[in-house]
Symmetry: C2
Subunit: 319 residues, 2 copies
């Protein structure tokens, strides 16, 4: 890598975390510190009239020019430009060498991070791979092995072996919860019903006790308990949440994705991670939350591994 090439690079970096319902933009200083961040509601399903271009321009307006890297559903079939899925095992280096480049009319280039595919199951992820790299960025001193959990609409259980993503599995827990509480016979509670911790714990224990049959075999208990008067209709959503999160943990143990001997690192919103941690106690599992805002660090890490960042100030060889 010659000095000349290094000097062609512009300083800093712009990172985009662009999902189905959100767009977060980060402006970095040279050392990877986020100097400014912006959150817009321009998810890829809710773009402004000017489409991707307008959303991008608004998100980065007035920021100094810098290389741009993006991850998430923006690289999906319905995104700005489809990127391939990279098969596991995969690490930061493989993802950095698989960036898809999109040239914009104004001359700028968007570097899109690929999603990951586990060919064994099969399973896919898009966006979460960058969160994972953000977690691994905190363990650069020695190769890290363990299990990561990214709870959410589509929860991901990720196996990491010496800082390489070696496999993962998706549970549609959040989406199922939304479907059942909005559209099924188990719905009907007021939308503003407060979380009921006793009902949540009751659901978690019921899922655990369902054993190998699993929580689908007791899902209807949410209705029977309400008809019995044993559960108020306000408490049904919390019970259902406990039943589904509990079943995710039950399945994770049964499938060997998690075991009580090893702590699981969890990445997600504080509220949701707290809910999972509460449920984990019933199973003797230990879930520890990683810092939030991890995607920004993952984007920086891929960009650095791809050589997108101008390290000229520190890396110019002495003559």
């Amino acid at each position: 890598m010659t000095n000349a090439i290094l000097h062609q690079r512009r300083p800093g970096l712009i990172g985009l975390d662009w999902g189905t319902t959100h767009l977060r933009a980060y402006r970095y200083g040279d050392a990877g510190t986020v100097l400014e961040s912006r959150a817009l509601s321009y998810g890829i399903r809710q773009l402004p009239s000017g489409g991707f271009t307008q959303a991008f321009e608004e998100a980065t307006a007035s920021w100094p020019e810098a290389p741009v890297i993006a991850c998430g559903m923006v690289g999906s079939r319905n995104g700005w430009c489809e990127t391939p899925y990279i098969d596991t095992p995969a690490d930061v280096s493989r993802l950095a060498h698989a960036l898809t480049l999109l040239s914009l009319p104004d001359g700028r280039t968007l570097h899109l991070v690929s999603g990951l595919r586990d060919p064994e199951r099969p399973d896919v992820m898009r966006g979460e791979e960058t969160q994972i790299l953000g977690v691994l960025a905190q363990h650069t001193d020695v190769p890290w092995s363990g299990t990561l959990l990214l709870p959410g609409t589509h929860s991901k259980w990720v196996r990491i072996t010496e800082s390489v993503v070696t496999g993962f599995a998706t549970m549609m827990t959040g989406e199922l919860y939304g479907l059942l509480s909005r559209h099924s016979i188990l719905g009907g509670a007021p939308a503003d019903a407060a979380h009921d911790d006793a009902a949540f714990q009751q659901g978690v224990r019921a899922a655990r006790d369902s054993g190998a049959a699993g929580a689908l075999s007791i899902l209807f208990s949410a209705r029977a308990l309400m008809l019995d008067g044993a559960l108020t209709s306000d408490a049904v959503p919390s019970y259902l949440s406990g039943l589904l999160i509990g079943d995710e943990l039950r399945a994770a143990i049964a499938a060997g994705w998690a075991d009580a001997a090893l702590p699981v690192q969890m990445v997600g919103s504080m509220a949701l991670c707290q809910r999972y941690a509460d449920a984990a106690g019933v199973f003797g599992l230990r879930l520890r939350q990683a810092p939030e805002n991890i995607t920004a660090q993952g984007l920086w890490r891929v960009a650095a591994a791809a050589g997108l960042i101008d390290h000229a100030s520190t890396r110019v060889p002495t003559p």
Copy 2:
């Protein structure tokens, strides 16, 4: 029971199978033969402007007066008149002695069959209890023991011990299939996509192979396989159907509701029963379909056990 009381009874019977989306009316001859049946779209959620009364009058218009018995959601909280749930163990005699009587303005009386409740799980059913009695009506010579399966929106697995319902469990398989194929990320196939038997069988095997983790742990494979090109979007609904029906059978075996040694009697529509029977082969389970139109026989049987039917012609004691 005196001759005088027997002669107060009117001959014949009218039976109503009144659910959420359907109303079926049966006019019986003295021996329990259905002389005429009518099907109306007046389910309890889609009544005509004149409500329950008008629906009832239309369903029975021009029929000779006779005792009237009804089962199904008409006896639910949102029905014409709420009837209690009777706890298992329960047989035809207990249900016959727990009829709820609703007196109509025209002087007629509606006899409503109660639902059943399994206090152990807890679980409830309403309408299916009468189908079960219809099946048992075919085994009146000796007490019958075995497992019944009533597949559907809310599938019921029913344990019968010497012609007594001793317990049951609900799986929301049909409702889950509808939610996932209409509203989830796994949806999107054309509504008229033909059934794909290979994809269905693939789903059934995937559910079986999910073991104790269960099919929720591989639900997302429906999307990953489609993105892979291994499953066309037209075939996703069949794969999903196989996955969910397969998981119902997997859970039934894990929970001990069914085992390969004993055949399961199945009650439901021909098409759905065929689908379950296809899936059962993968598990070594034997599912045998009972005759259709079993509810009419169940209504007759409860009415007979309740003494609603005029058996005067055959039962008048000789002097």
